[in-house]
Symmetry: C2
Amino acid sequence: VSAAPKPKRKPLVVVYTGHGKGKTTAALGILFRAWGRGMKVAMLCFIKTKTSNYGEEQAAKRLGIEVIPLGGGYTWLSQDIEKDKALARELWTMAQEKISSGQYDIIILDEFTYPLKYGWLPMEEVLEVLRRRPDSLHVVITGRDAPQELIDFADLVTEMLEVKHPLQRGIKAQPGLDF
Amino acid sequence: VSAAPKPKRKPLVVVYTGHGKGKTTAALGILFRAWGRGMKVAMLCFIKTKTSNYGEEQAAKRLGIEVIPLGGGYTWLSQDIEKDKALARELWTMAQEKISSGQYDIIILDEFTYPLKYGWLPMEEVLEVLRRRPDSLHVVITGRDAPQELIDFADLVTEMLEVKHPLQRGIKAQPGLDF
């Protein structure tokens, strides 16, 4: 009697996009789950700045999970787009190293759709890096307006649709829930 | 000179619904963030069974976060609907106690839309409990097909829309990503 075949681990590219809330939050849920299974995870944040200190960063620090914020803040508020571009390229270089290192089970590229959408990073290069990644690595990408080429390439895409948003009633982001 | 008023904490009812992936996962992201801020969180799972041992349960156990699975498994696979109903009522009783206790910052009712949708729990009672909750408590509810009354009541509603699902290509749920 031969044993039942072990379910094959299939590395996925997951995209959470759309204008509704819950994209980065869902990526953090994956991070939490994966950590629970003893998997190695890293999250690189393309908008959050070095000086941010969100709940997720506090949690990650306590657990020894790599969460690396190296963005320039919200692009639409930016004073210096060239600096933001340079930061995005720097973080993408770091991401490439981590992706090809073979040392991770899951890598999260948070708010990664923005540098793609603005053309700061060449889409073909990004897809090539994803295509050549180690065959055990999941990559999770979040952010609004994921480019169609990325959606076509990805295995799993969820659009977070805004049905009701508290800002409509003037209620701001809440600690714990939103950051 | 008077100090700027501290941003008021406004307790929200958050709903993640829709047929796409990322609903429970986003709730787990909130749990992670809130834990990072030292907030008190509990998650009550209305579908997951006592014997489940998902990544999130392993993580929660290690961190001392209450994640309580007391469902009967997927309803559409159920052999004993009466038993499932009784479990849902038992867990809802527990949820009510926690909600009214004043001891939590965030309570997550995972897959809670199902007992509502099936009429196992009276909607009016549920809304009344939510309405009377302590004024510092956020409640997060996940699950497909959230009833309209719940959407009307909630402060923040995101619909997770399935754009692309790996099951369409026969790829099953992946540890770390999905459970």
